[in-house]
């Protein structure tokens, strides 16, 4: 089991690294979808099957597809890739890498002082999740739905193609 975890983890990290360094948008998105699958695998291993399913269906299936649609809508062609290459000079990596490395070290240090408890204390069934959602977190659910409504309206308004849209 642990081996599976390590394999999935490696795939996820590798796929993410590829995502952020691609020149073509579609390539990056596809790599990210792979990363999402790996993370879903890890969710499954942690005993959260419901979330694993949701990860694939919603995140990879809806959100990423949305991304793909938009990229296709923008119709970025060769010159976009050229531009990306031009922007992505090796020198540009220096600052972010440094900053990110520092952060990683810090996080690692903090986490290394952990208690060493096992990650799972058993699977949590979807039934349990559902009960909690409609119980204590009911208000949150309602708010989330309002958020979605706001997102819907905003996206519709902002995405209009007329001359004086998004006033």
């Amino acid at each position: 089991m642990t081996v599976l975890f390590y394999v999935a983890a490696t795939v996820a990290v590798f796929a993410t690294a590829m995502t952020i360094s691609r020149l073509n948008a579609i390539h990056a998105l596809l790599y990210f979808i792979v990363s999402l699958f790996a993370v879903a695998m890890i969710f499954f291993l942690l005993g959260a099957p419901f979330i694993a399913a949701l990860e694939v269906i919603v995140y990879a299936g809806a959100i990423m597809v949305l991304f793909v649609f938009v990229v296709m809508l923008l119709n970025l062609g060769r010159e976009a890739e050229e531009q990306e290459r031009h922007w992505l000079q090796p020198g540009a990596w220096l600052g972010p890498v440094g900053l990110a490395a520092v952060l990683l070290l810090e996080l690692g240090y903090v986490l290394a002082q952990g208690s060493g408890a096992p990650a799972t204390a058993g699977a949590v069934s979807p039934r349990e999740v559902g009960r909690v959602l409609l119980g204590p977190y009911l208000l949150g659910v309602e708010l989330a739905s309002m958020l979605l409504l706001a997102g819907l309206v905003g996206a519709y308004h902002l995405g209009r193609r007329d001359k004086d849209a998004a006033r």
Partner: protein, 102 residues
């Protein structure tokens, strides 16, 4: 049932988050920046789920649900803005829209 330790998962989440951050800082194309943000959100969600699983409670998963919802809303609005940006400035360069300053 598995020998996975919480810290390991959290380290994985940290690595993924940092990678997302790096992508956000490096890329100039707004589309890639949005993707990097998604990476970071995903990593955060992973951390939550792991924490919830540690205690065997559903709260972690619920929170991941909320994150997911929020990510969906944010992505739709963000992509709409990307479309607008492309329409106004004819480019996806994040530095093109730098007029909100002193």
């Amino acid at each position: 049932m598995t020998g996975i330790q919480l810290e390991q998962v959290l380290v994985l989440a940290a690595v993924l988050f940092v990678l997302g951050l790096k992508g956000l800082l490096v890329r100039r194309n707004v589309l890639f920046m949005l993707i990097s943000i998604e990476i970071m959100l995903n990593a955060a969600g992973l951390a939550f789920v792991a924490a919830g699983a540690r205690w065997g409670q559903a709260d972690g998963q619920v929170f991941f649900l909320f994150i997911l919802t929020m990510a969906a809303a944010e992505v739709s609005v963000g992509l709409a803005l990307v479309l607008q940006l492309h329409q106004q400035f004819k480019t996806l360069d994040a530095d093109a829209a730098a007029e909100l300053r002193d």
